[in-house]
C-alpha cells in the first residue's frame, strides 16, 4: 500500500510550517500534525482575553530569515512587517530613559546624554556588530559538517562562510574569533562606560540562555540576536501586522497553497518504527498515519524519548539525549490594559514612539547578573530583568478600541523552584513583575483588566517545551553546530532512519528564525523522499 504522505511534520510551530511549506513547494505530499487547537507553537496568536489577539509566545519576528519570506512569497499571503522607530527603550527612575533607535544617528544623540565618549564609539560598535552578525547569519543557513568524521562535500558550503570571514581582513577576523567565546559584559566593557547603555545592549546576550552577562558565550548570542537587523545593528526587531499569528497564517497558507495539509488538535503519541526506521506516526486517538519521512518540530528530548522511546535507541544516544542541557529562563506575563501606562521619561507629547519597540527593565549589567544569581539557586528573581512589548502601539487592531496589550518576558525563572512548585508561586511571580514594572509605570496596576501568566511549567505542559527551555536546548557553545542537538546528529537526521529534526533543537537553534525548518527541508529533500 503506498503511503498517503511523503512527509509528516510533527508539530505546527513556525519551524514545522516552514519545513512543510518548502517540502510541499518541492511537490511532496505533506501533513502537519499539531497537538494544540492553534498552529504556531511558541509563536502563536491566541484570543486569550476576549477581543484581544495575544502573542502568547514570541512577539518579535525580527530574526525571521528574509530568504524564507522571499522564497515562499509570504507577502502574497498577507505578511506585513511593522517596524517601530524605537528598537529598545530603557526607562530610568529619575531621568529621561534611554532609547536605542533604529537610526544609529538618533541613538547617538540619545547616548550623548549619558556619555559623550560612548556616543562617539557607538557607530563603530554598530558597524562591528553588524558586520560580524552578517558573517554569522551566513552560517545559519548551512548544515553543520559532522566533525570529527567529516566528508569533503559537507565542508564545501562552509568555504563561502570562510571566505566572508577572510574578507573581514586579518585584524577583524581575529576579533571575530576572539569574540565568540567572550562574555557580553566584557565585550561591552571594551566599548562603553555607561552602565545603562551596557545593560540595554547586554540583555540581547542573555535571552533564552540560563546565564548572566558575565558568562562566556553571551557575546555570541548578542551577534545571533543581531542577524538581519539592518541598520539598527544590535538587535533584530520587527513585528508582524496582526501579531505573530499572522506570520503563522501566512506560512500555513503558503504551505497549503503548495498542497500541504494541516491538522490541529492531533497529538502524536508515538513514531511508528519498522526495522529500526520511522514509517509513520500513531495519534493519541489510535489513528496511524504513514509517510516515507518524518520531521519532528518537537524538541529533541521529547522527539527521541517521548515519541521514539529510549528503548529503541542505542545506549550511547540515550546517554547523549539525557545530557542535553535544557534550562528554563523566563516566565511570560500577558496583560490586557484599558489605556496606555505612562512610563517615566518616555516623553508625553502625545507620541508613544519610544514605546513601540522593546521596553527593558535593567538599569545596569550587574542588575541582570544579580537576577541570574538568584535563579542559580532555584528562586525566581525578585528584581527581575523584564523585556516587554506593547504590540498595540504598532498595531491597535490587536485589542478592542482604547485597550492595550502588554507582553512581558520576565527573567530569570528556573524550572524547579526551591520553595515548592510553581503552582503556589504563580501569584508571587505576577506580583513581583507588576511591582518591578510599576516603579517605572506607576499607573500600570490600575490599568490591568486581564492577566495571563505562563510559568516554565506551563511552557512545558502546554507548549511542549521540555524543561521550559524556549530554545529546545540551551544555546551554549557546547550545544551548537555539530553538537546540536547531540554529537553525530547535527545534520537534521536523527538516529532513527527517515526521522529528521526541524525545530529549534537543530542548528542554528532558537528564536523565530525559520532556519532549522528551512535547513531540515533541504536535507530531507536531499535524502530523497519518495512516495
Amino acid at each position: 500500500m503506498p503511503n498517503e504522505f511523503d512527509a509528516i511534520i510533527i508539530g505546527g510551530g513556525h519551524n514545522g510550517l516552514v519545513c512543510a511549506a518548502f517540502l510541499a513547494r518541492a511537490s511532496r505530499r505533506v501533513l502537519v500534525l499539531e497537538r494544540r487547537p492553534v498552529l504556531g507553537g511558541a509563536a502563536a496568536g491566541e484570543e486569550v482575553f476576549p477581543g484581544f489577539k495575544v502573542d502568547t509566545g514570541a512577539s518579535d519576528a525580527g530574526l525571521f530569515n528574509p530568504r524564507i519570506v522571499k522564497d515562499l512569497n509570504l507577502e502574497n499571503y498577507g505578511l506585513r512587517w511593522l517596524e517601530s522607530p524605537a528598537v529598545l527603550f530603557a526607562p530610568q527612575l529619575e531621568a529621561p530613559g534611554l532609547t536605542l533607535w533604529r537610526d544609529p544617528e538618533r541613538t547617538r544623540g540619545e547616548i550623548s546624554r549619558l556619555s559623550e565618549k560612548d556616543a562617539a564609539r557607538y557607530p563603530g560598535f554598530i558597524r562591528q556588530v553588524s558586520r560580524f552578525a552578517d558573517i554569522l547569519s551566513g552560517m545559519l543557513t548551512l548544515t553543520p559538517p559532522s566533525l570529527p568524521q567529516w566528508e569533503l562535500k559537507e565542508l564545501l558550503p562552509w568555504a563561502r562562510a570562510a571566505l566572508m570571514l577572510k574578507s573581514l581582513g586579518e585584524r577583524e577576523m581575529m576579533e571575530f574569533i576572539r569574540l565568540l567565546p567572550m562574555p557580553v559584559a566584557d565585550y561591552l566593557d571594551e566599548w562603553f562606560e555607561s552602565p545603562r547603555l551596557k545593560a540595554a545592549l547586554a540583555a540581547g546576550g542573555v535571552t533564552g540562555n540560563f546565564l548572566g552577562p558575565r558568562a562566556s558565550g553571551s557575546a555570541l548570542m548578542l551577534l545571533y540576536q543581531a542577524a538581519h537587523s539592518g541598520g539598527a545593528g544590535f538587535r533584530a526587531s520587527r513585528f508582524v501586522q496582526g501579531g505573530m499569528g499572522a506570520l503563522i497564517e501566512a506560512l500555513a497558507s503558503a504551505a497549503r497553497r503548495h498542497g500541504a495539509e494541516m491538522r490541529t488538535g492531533s497529538q502524536v503519541a508515538r513514531i511508528l518504527l519498522e526495522d529500526g526506521g520511522a514509517v509513520g506516526v500513531e495519534l493519541t486517538s489510535g489513528e496511524q498515519l504513514r509517510a516515507s519521512a518524518i520531521a519532528s518540530n518537537a524538541n529533541p528530548v521529547h522527539t527521541l524519548f517521548g515519541l521514539v522511546g529510549a528503548a529503541n535507541l542505542e545506549v550511547r544516544v540515550v546517554r547523549e539525549v539525557k545530557n542535553i542541557r535544557l534550562r528554563a529562563t523566563l516566565a511570560r506575563v500577558n496583560l490586557a490594559l484599558d489605556g496606555l501606562p505612562e512610563f517615566t521619561g518616555a516623553g508625553h507629547n502625545g507620541s508613544h514612539e519610544r514605546l513601540g519597540g522593546h521596553i527593558l527593565i535593567a538599569p545596569d549589567p550587574d542588575y541582570i547578573e544579580r537576577a541570574y544569581d538568584q535563579a542559580k539557586y532555584g528562586e525566581f528573581s525578585t528584581q527581575p530583568l523584564l523585556d516587554l512589548t506593547i504590540p498595540t502601539i504598532n498595531d491597535p487592531y490587536l485589542a478592542p478600541p482604547g485597550a492595550n496589550l502588554m507582553c512581558i518576558n520576565a527573567y530569570y525563572a528556573p524550572y524547579k523552584l526551591n520553595d515548592g512548585g510553581w503552582e503556589g508561586n504563580k501569584d508571587k511571580l505576577l506580583e513581583t513583575v507588576v511591582a518591578a514594572l510599576a516603579q517605572y509605570a506607576p499607573d500600570l496596576p490600575a490599568k490591568i483588566t486581564h492577566i495571563q501568566v505562563i510559568t516554565p511549567l506551563e511552557l512545558d505542559a502546554e507548549y511542549g517545551l521540555t524543561g521550559g527551555d524556549i530554545y529546545h536546548g540551551q544555546m551554549g557553545l557546547d550545544q551548537l553546530l555539530m553538537m546540536r542537538p547531540i554529537p553525530g546528529y547535527g545534520r537534521y537526521r536523527m538516529p532513527v532512519e527517515n526521522l529528521h529534526l526541524c525545530g529549534a533543537g537543530a542548528h542554528p537553534g532558537g528564536g523565530v528564525t525559520g532556519m532549522p525548518g528551512y535547513n531540515a527541508a533541504r536535507e530531507i529533500l536531499k535524502a530523497g523522499v519518495t512516495s
Binding site: M173, M174, R178, M182, R214, S216, G217, D478, P487
Partner: protein, 529 residues
Amino acid sequence: MYAASHKKFDVIVIGGGHNGLVNAAYLAKAGKKVLLLEKRHVLGGASVTEEIFPGFKFTVFSYVVSLFRPEIIRDLNLTQHGLMILPLESTLTPLPDGRYLYRGPDHFENYRNIAMFSRRDADAYEDYSREMYFMAKAVKYILGVIPPHPTSLHPKELRGLLRMAQHFLGLPAEQFNILVRLMTMSSADFLLRWFESEPLLGTLSASGIIGTFLGPRSPGTAYVLLHHYMGEIDGAFRAWGFAKGGTGGIAEAIASAARSLGVHIRSSTQVSQVIVKDGKAAGVALADGEEIYARVVVSSLDPYHTFLKLVDPNQLPPEVVADVERYIFRGSSGKVNLALDAAPELACLSGPGAHLRGAISISPSIDYIEKAYDDAKYGDFSRRPYIDMIIPSMIDPDMAPPGKHVMSCFVQYAPYHLSQGSWDEKREAFGDAVVDTLAEYIPNLKDIILHRQVLTPLDIERTTGLSQGNIFQGELSLSQLFFLRPAAGLAQYRTPLRNYYQCGSATHPGGGITGAPGRLAALEILKDW
C-alpha cells in the same frame, strides 16, 4: 659577579621566575651567553620558598606542582640539580556536618568512600578518570606546539594549522566530543554529566576555577579543569606533587641547571627599561642607571610590563597597545600562610594520618563555591571562601621546626578590585574569614597559630609584579588562549620590536608551574637566530 655587566651578552632574560629560568637555561644550552636579571633577592618569581618566620619555610605564593613539563626535567637534568617532587597523593574534603570525602592512592578505598555518598558516582569515577586521562593525553600535544596564526596564508602557518586539525579530527568521535565540551562548558555542567554527589562535584569543580575570576557554573571553566589535569609527573597524568623544599625548590633546581650551563644570574637587579635602537631591542637599562647590551632581550613578565612599562608604548603599533590594555588579568586569589605550634586536628578525622599529607579542600558543594564567587563578582572577598590547603611540613619535615607545622592555604575568591575600601584596610578581615572558615573544620586551629601571613592580590602584585595579582599572568579564558594569548599576532613569543621576546605565563600554554612558555619561547628565539 658584577664583572659580567661589562661583557656583551647574547641574551638578557628579564625576570627570574620559573619560565624566565627555563628560557635562560635552554638558550644557554644552545650555546648562547645569557644574563638573567631578577628584581627580588630570591629567584623563582611566584614560585619561591621563603623563611617568613624564623624556622618556618613557606612556598609563599604557589603551593603545588603538577604541570611541570617532564621534557624540561629531562633536557635540563633537573633531578641532578636537586629537583625532587614528593607525591601529594590524597585530597580530603571535610564537610560541615562532620562527614568527609577522602580520595587517596587506593582505588578500592576511593570507590568505597565515594559510594558512601553515591554508588553511581563511585561507578562513574573510574570512567571519568579514564576519560580525563585520555583527554589530557590528547591535549598534551598542544603544550608542545607554537600556536599557528589562523589568518595567515603563509605555508608554515597553514602546515601548523593542518597538523593541528589532523591531530584533533583524528581523535575518536567520543573523545572529540568530550574535548569540545571541555573547551566550552562550565566545570559544573561538565561534571554533572558524570556525578551527582555534592562533595565530589564541589571538589572536582574547584579545579576549574583555580586562578580564574569565574565560578564553577561559568562556561569556560571546564577548560581550566582540563588544564589542571594536564599535570604529569614522571609520565603519570593528574599527579599533583609537592616539590622538596617548596616550590622554591623547583626554581633553585632550574637556577642551578642554568648556572651550570653558563647563565649569569643577578638577583636584586631591577630592569627599568628595554633599550630600543632603530626599532630593535638592544639591551636593558637598570633602575640604578646601568646599561647592559645584548643581541636579544626576553621578558618573562606579564604583557602589562612587557609592552607598556618596559618599552615606550609609542614605539609599538597602536592596535598592539590597545590589545594589551584590554587584556584581562583579574586577580582572584589570595594566599594565607600559617605557622602552627602543633599538628592541626580535623573535626571529621582526628589524629595523625595520611590525609594530613595530602590536600585538604574546603569545597563541600558546587553551590558553596558558586556563592563564594557571587561575593567576589560585586567586589568583595568571599565570606566563606574556597580553600585548598596543604601542610608541607607533613611531607617535608625541613619546612618547619620539629613538632611544628606550616600550613599553606590557597584562597578564592579575593578580587583585586574591591568595591569598598582597599586591600590594605581589609587584609586582616580577609585573613580572619579564611581562619574562621578553616576553624569550622579544624577546631584547634586558632589555638595553635603562631604566625599568620595574609597575601591579597594586591600583595601578590606588589611583591612578584604579577599585574592585579593574577597568578596565571592573565585569565585562562578561551578568548585569551592559544593563538590569542596574550593577543592575536603576539602569540608566537615575538613582539613588534625585533629582538624583543616574551616567555612568561601570558604566552601559550599559559599559567601554572609548567615551564612550557619558557621552553617554547627559547625554541622560537633560536629559530630567528
